[in-house]
Amino acid sequence: MFRINLYLFFLFSPMVLLAQHKISGKVTDNKKHPLPGVNVYIKGSYDGATSKADGSFAFTTAEVGERILTASLSGYQPLEIKINTASAEQLTVILKNAVSALRVVTISAGSFEASDDKKGTVLKPLDIVTTAGAGADIVNAIKTLPGAQQTNDREGLFVRGGTGYETQTLIDGMLVRNPFSSSLPDVPGRGRFSPFLFKGTTFSSGGYSAQYGQALSSALVLESTDLPQRSSSSIGVSVIGASAGVENLSNDKKTSWGVEGDYTNLAPYFQVVKPKQTPNLGPEIIGTSLNFRRKTSSTGMLKFYGYGNWSKMGFSSPSIEYPGNTESYQVRNGNLYTNMTYRENLGDDWRLYVGASFSANRDNITTDTLGKDQIPADIRVRSSLAQSRVMLTRHLGPFSALRFGGEYQYAVEQFSYNRRPFNYADNYTAAFTEADIYFTPSFVGRVGGRAEYSSVLAKMNLAPRVSLAYKVDNYSQFSVAYGDYYQKPEPQYIRFDHGLGYMKATHYIASYQRVATDYTFRTEIFYKQYADLVKTVPGYNNNGKGYAKGIELFWRDRKTIKNVDYWISYSYLDTKRDYLNYPKEVQPDFAATHTASLVYKHFIPKLSTNIGLTYTFATGRPYYNPNLPADKFMSDKTIDYHAVGVSASYLTTIRKAFTIFVLSVSNAPGNKQVFGYRYSSDGLRRGEITPSVPRFIFLGMFMNFGIDRRQDVINNL
C-alpha cells in the first residue's frame, strides 16, 4: 500500500496536500480471541489491510477527518465504526458471530433427511441407490436407518413398533395411497417409485409436523426433482427386464418434460433360479411415467407427475391345509397415480403451495385349492382417491414462519368377495397450522395442531404437536418432540363396520445429534403410546392398546478410511400391543427387539468401481403357534435374521453415454431366513415363511445419453 501512496504523492502533490495517517489496531471475536483474515479498510477507499494471525492490522491512508472503518470476515457480522484518521489511537475491533443459515437450528427430532440441497444432511439421494442389498428401492435403503424393522415378508415400513399401514408416503405433499406394488402373500412388493425421481427424502420415525396426518408411526416425505440439468435419454437392461426414458429440457431452460417406460418379466429368471413356489402367472410388470415441470417465474414452479403400472403374477405351492393338494394365488393389478403441484411466492413474506392428485388402484385376486372341489375365491379390491391441498407460509423475521392450510380427500373403497360387494366412500377434511418460532437463532420451538374429520367414521379429532430444538455449537443439537397422531382403521375393517373410530398414538421423543462434514452421530430415545387400536374379537371395536419404547443409535463416517463411507445403525425396541384377535398385550409378530445394520461403501478410483456391502441383523420375531395355551400366545420366536447384501458397480462411458454396470447379490452367503410360520387350522402341520428365492442375483446395465444441445446454446446467445 505504501508504494502506491508514495507514487500518488509524487503524482498529485502540486494539487493535493497528502497527509499520511497510520491506522492500526486489533480484531477479536466477542470472547477476545484474535481473528485473522479480517478485511479492515476505510469505506469507499482502497486503503486497508488484512488482519494477521494475532488479529493485528496496520495501514496508512491519505483520507482525512471522520471516516467509516469497515471490518468484515465471513461468518461474522460486518462492523462499521466512525474514526478520525488523525487520531493515532490503537483501535479495538470486536466482531460478532453472524447468524448464517449453517448455524441456525432446525427441527430434527425423529427425522432423517436425504437431500442434496441442504448441507449437513445424513444421507444423499445417491446413497439410496448405492446401498448394497437395497436393490435401488427407497424403502429397502431406509430400512438400514434406525427405527425401521427388517420385515422382509411384507411390504411397508414398520417403524418403532408400528405396522406398515401406520407409515404414509407423500410425494410433494400429496398422499400416495398405494406406494408398493401389489404382491403375493409373504413376498413384499417393491416401492413403485424410482429413487432417481426425488431430490430429497425425509424419513420421519416420529414426532413429525402437523402438515401430515393419517399416519400413526411414520411419514416418508419425498420431494421430486426440479428441472433437469440438460436433455437426456436413458436405457437400462437387466436380467429381469428393460427400461427406457427421455427427458427434454427446453431451450430457455424453463420447461421440461419426460417420459419413461419399463418392462419386467421374472419368468426367465425363475426358469434358471427355481423359487420356493412355482410361478403360474407372470410375474410380469409394465410401467410408464410422464412428467412435466415448468419454472413459471424466478420463484414459481409447476410440476406434474403421472404414473401407470400393470402387473400380473401368481404362484402355486403345496397346501398346508390339505396335504397333497396345491394352493394357487394369482393377482392382477392396475395402478394409476397423478400429482400436480404449484409453488409461488406471494409478495415478500408469503409463500403459496397448492396441490391436486388423483390415484386409482385395482387388484383382482384369485385363490384356489387345486384338486379340491371348492369354488375359487374371487376377490376384487378397487380404491380411488382424489385429493387437494393448500398451504400458505408467512415468514416472520429472518427465520420464524407460520404455516397453515387444509386438505380434502375423497376416497372410494370397493371390495367384493365372489361378487358380494362391501363398498364405502369417505370424505376426509383436515386443517392444520404450525409456527416455527426462533427464540434465538440456536433455539427454536415448533407448535402446531391438526384437526380432521372423516365422514365414514363421522368423527373429528384434534392433534396437538410440539417440538423444540437447541443448537449447542455449529455441529451439535438437542431436540425433543411430542405429538398426538390419529389414523383411520384399515379399509378392510371399516368396510365391515362403519362404527369404528380413529386409532391413536402419542409420541414422546428426545434426541441428540452431531453432524459435521465428514461424520454424523445421532441417538434418540422414544416412548410411544397406542390407544383405540382395532380389535376384531369379540366384534369389531376400538379397545386395542399398546406401547413402544426404545433407543436408537446412528453413526456415519466418511473420513477415517480413505474412499470408504460407512454407517452403522442400531435400534432397541420394547413393544407390546393388544389388537386384532390378540387375547392379551404381547410383542407383535412384526417386531424384533434388536435390529442393527452396517452399510459399507468403498470406491476404488483406479477401477472406477464402487463396492458395497450391507449387513443387517435382527433378533427373532414372535410367531403364533396355535398349539400353545392362550397364556403363551406369541411366545415362540423365529431364528435370528442375518442378511449380507453385496454389490459392485462399474462406472464408465461408452461413446458419449454415461454407463453403469451393476451386479448385486442379496443374502450372498445364503443364510436361512425365517420370518414366521403358517399353520394348518388343526395346528398339526406348518410351513415356514421364507424368502421365495434365498439369494437374488441382479445384473444390469444403465446408460444415460446427454442429448447434445451445445449448438442450441450457441444459437440462443
Binding site: 508504494r3 502506491i4 507514487y7 500518488l8 503524482l11 498529485f12 494539487m15 493535493v16 485473522p36 483474515g37 478485511n39 479498510y41 469507499g44 477507499s45 482502497y46 486503503d47 486497508g48 489491510a49 488484512t50 465471513s74 442434496d116 448441507k119 444423499k124 439421494p125 445417491l126 446413497d127 448405492t130 440439468q229 440438460r230 459435521a516 462434514t517 470406491f603 478410483p605 472406477s608 462406472l651 464408465t652 462411458t653 454415461f658 446427454g706 451445445r710 446454446v713 450457441i714 446467445l717
Partner: protein
C-alpha cells in the same frame, strides 16, 4: 462571472478527480495483478489478503469488472489450495457473487466463464460421488461458453487440457489428448496479447507444468 468561474473550477476539479481515480486504480491494480504472477501469492494466507484487497478496490470502484474478476479468481484458487473441504461451498458462493457483478459490467466475457468453470469444479470436489454429474456438466458448459465468447483465449485450452489430464480414462480423459490440448494452449498463449497489463493473463507456467505431466 463568479458562477462561471465556479462551474469551470468544478468541472476542472471533477476531471482531475477522475484522472486521479483512474490513475490510482491502474496503479493499485498493476501492483496487485503483477503479484499474482508469483507463486508466493497462492499461499493460503496470501490469498486471503489478495481477496480482501481486490474486494476493497471493487467496492470503491463499482464500475470496473476486473477487481471483481480477480477477487473471484483468488477465491476459487483458495478452494484448490485450502485443506478444508467444508469451506469450499462458502468460498464458491462468494466467488459466484463476485462473478455475477463482473458479468453485469462485462457480459459474455470469456475470462469470466473460465472462472465460473473453475467454481463448478471446486464445488464438485466437495463430494465427487453425488455432485459429479451436476457440477462436472456445469464446468464443461462454462468452458464451452468461454470458447464461444473468445476462441483465442488460451485459458480455455488450459482448462480443457487440465480436465482431460485429470479425468479418468473411463470418463473420456486421455493423456495424449491432454498433451495436444495443452500444446494448443501454449500456442494460444504465445499469440495472446492481453488488452492491458491488468487484463487476465495467468496460466502459461501452469500449462507448461501440466504438459510435462502429460508426457
Amino acid at each position: 462571472m463568479k458562477r462561471l468561474l465556479l462551474s469551470l473550477f468544478m468541472i476542472g476539479g471533477l476531471a482531475t478527480a477522475a484522472v486521479a481515480q483512474s490513475a490510482q486504480f491502474q496503479d493499485a491494480m498493476n501492483k496487485q495483478v503483477s503479484d499474482l504472477d508469483s507463486s508466493a501469492a497462492f499461499a493460503p494466507d496470501a490469498l486471503v489478503a489478495k481477496i480482501n484487497t481486490f474486494e476493497r478496490i471493487a467496492e470503491a470502484e463499482k464500475t470496473q469488472w476486473l477487481p471483481y474478476y480477480y477477487a473471484a479468481y483468488c477465491q476459487v484458487m483458495s478452494c484448490f489450495v485450502g485443506q478444508d473441504k467444508g469451506k469450499i461451498d462458502e468460498l464458491a458462493d462468494k466467488a459466484a457473487a463476485n462473478l455475477d457483478k463482473a458479468d453485469a459490467l462485462a457480459p459474455k466475457n470469456s475470462e469470466i466463464a473460465c472462472i465460473r468453470s473453475l467454481v463448478a469444479s471446486a464445488r464438485l470436489m466437495v463430494d465427487p460421488a453425488s455432485r459429479g454429474m451436476k457440477y462436472g456438466m456445469e464446468a464443461g458448459q462454462q468452458i464451452e461458453l468461454a470458447k464461444t465468447y473468445n476462441t483465442e483465449n488460451p485459458r480455455v485450452y488450459l482448462l480443457l487440457g487440465q480436465s482431460l489430464l485429470f479425468t479418468p480414462e473411463q470418463f473420456g480423459g486421455s493423456k495424449s489428448k491432454a498433451k495436444t490440448m495443452l500444446e494448443t494452449a501454449l500456442q494460444k498463449y504465445a499469440a495472446f496479447k492481453p488488452e492491458s497489463n491488468i487484463a487476465p493473463h495467468w496460466g502459461e507456467p501452469y500449462a507448461k507444468e501440466l504438459l510435462t505431466k502429460a508426457q
